[in-house]
Amino acid sequence: MTRREGSRVLVLGAGVAGLSCARALADAGRPVEVLERARGVGGRCATRRVEGQPVDFGVAFLHGRDPGFLAALAEVPARRLDGWPVAMLGAGRPCQPEAFTPGESRLAFAEGISAFPRHLAAGLPVTLRANAVAVEPEGAALRVRLEGGGAAEAPVVVLALAAEQAHELLGTVPGPPPAVASARALLDQARSQACLALIAVYPPEAQPPAWHCCYPDGSRVLQLAVHDSSKRAAPDATVLVLQAHPRWSREHLDDPAWPERLLEEGGRVVGPWAARPRHQEPHSWRHARHDRSAELAAPLLLGLPGGARLGLCGDRFAPGGGVEAAWRSGRALAHRILQEVP
């Protein structure tokens, strides 16, 4: 049994950034606790069961080249699909073009993408459905107030949230101290991109397509069609996940008819069959990814007047974007906390 020593760290957000930060701190023997607003861990590395079959409705596959990140992926106890996606259709621009550059490793898991965050979270004290609504300095500690009452306190609090959510939460810090104002201004310089995603399940007579991923080059609506069921060992049904372009997504966030429009475009691009699923489930990612032009070099670790520390990490806080950047930013922040906070 490892004895836990040093300042306790409270991590808000159980996405890959928060979990990677918490994991690295816990592995170094620090007492750490994770609070997550949702019902499960993983954030945008999201898998849900549709008719018993796992479907990745956020991140479609993982990619990277950082040896540490690839080693972390290698530890995941799941069936790896190395190189996935292999069969590609279309010449459209991928959300992360470097995913398909030489030297980049790509992979998926047959059990679903969420196998990765679930593995990171294994053994960590994670409290689900705990939504932080305010952060207030309390002597040398920070007090995090939760929705519906209740609070948590720690000398170090890490915000591993989408930039907009972190910005909002920082706005609740009374004062605010100059470091907090500065961080808010930094976050305010760029917005996350939205992504409307639609899970579409097709009848048995639908012929599964020959491709894994399709990036259409002639659509301003559909950015990516993922043949999700091609990741599963013995799929019962053909499942596509349709992801809309950032601009179109932003413009249609509040349009109740977006799933039909996206399906219509899917039918136009992929084939008429794709417009007629027997079952569909929409999901709106308001903060799907950040624009690469907004990326930052390093996570933040702010010092507050009473002596408490407030950290920020996430995919925007490391070069490269995506899950790899999220993981790296969490690790980098953990490293700084271990070095700077006894």
Binding site: A181, S182, A297, P299, L300
Partner: protein, 249 residues
């Protein structure tokens, strides 16, 4: 029959065509001399030497005055690219004054080299530099923010500069700088620094505004129309009080 002697700088291009060493600094950067040409400038005649490096697409250059290959005690100035200052004449920094004074200083000597390092905005790039300016306009404590934007306490990568000095076959240098740390950094990379020449900006009609503002401020930073500044170059400028005044170390 005597062969016409090959220009020593051009000979470096030939020498380096298959050059590969273990590299300098943490990134193990290795550079090659790949192109040489004359460059008449308003500051005098220089030879421009282009360097390729194996780590990034940054095309570093050296402005060479006089015979430096194989030379000893060659005056050398390291200048980091600053588009806003060098080209646009920004008053948020003193980069253009530092650059022109660097070139003028080299011309005052029999020979010398200005290494123009392409590390815009202290290595963070132009866009993040603009973001940092925007944060300053909000009057913010930007230490952490700068860190996230890519600024480190001293971002300079002297490894590339050191390799460039070695590539030019310079045996020892007189470093034009006000920053003793630069000397130490270069020495770490086996550059023999025999002397330090203070980098002192001579007042003239173009930088009078700068001087006047400077006189009102005790620090190194100038307030240009209320806009905050970032120190772009690794060493703060020292300005002679009167025209013609000799610099003091």
């Amino acid at each position: 029959m005597r062969q016409p002697e090959l220009d020593p700088l051009r000979a470096l291009v030939q020498r380096d065509q298959d050059h590969e060493c273990e590299g300098f600094g943490a990134a193990r950067t290795c550079v090659r001399v790949v192109a040489v040409a004359d460059l008449p400038t308003r500051f005098g005649h220089f030879r421009l030497v282009g360097f390729w490096n194996n780590r990034d697409a940054k095309e570093h250059v050296a402005m060479v005055h006089g015979e430096v290959v194989g030379g000893e005690e060659v005056p050398v100035r390291l200048h980091s690219e600053c588009l806003t200052g060098d080209v646009m004449g920004s008053l948020r920094c003193d980069c253009r004054d530092q650059l022109t004074e660097g070139l003028a200083a080299i011309r005052r000597h029999e020979r010398g080299v200005l290494l123009y390092l392409r590390q815009e905005g202290r290595g963070i790039g132009l866009i993040n530099k603009i973001r940092a300016y925007a944060l300053q306009e909000a009057g913010l404590d930007t230490v952490e923010a700068n860190l996230a934007l890519g600024f480190r306490d001293d971002e300079r990568d002297y490894a590339v500069g050191a390799h460039m000095i070695h590539s030019l076959g310079i045996r020892s240098i007189r470093l034009i700088t006000n920053n003793p740390n630069k000397v130490a950094q270069l020495t770490q990379h086996r550059v023999v620094v025999s002397d330090r020449i203070p980098h002192v900006i001579q007042p003239n009609e173009f930088n009078r505004f700068y001087l006047e503002t400077k006189a009102r401020k005790s620090g190194h930073y100038l307030e240009a129309g209320g806009a905050g500044r970032l120190q772009e170059q690794a060493d703060p400028a020292v300005v002679a009080r009167e025209a013609g005044q000799e610099p003091k170390a």
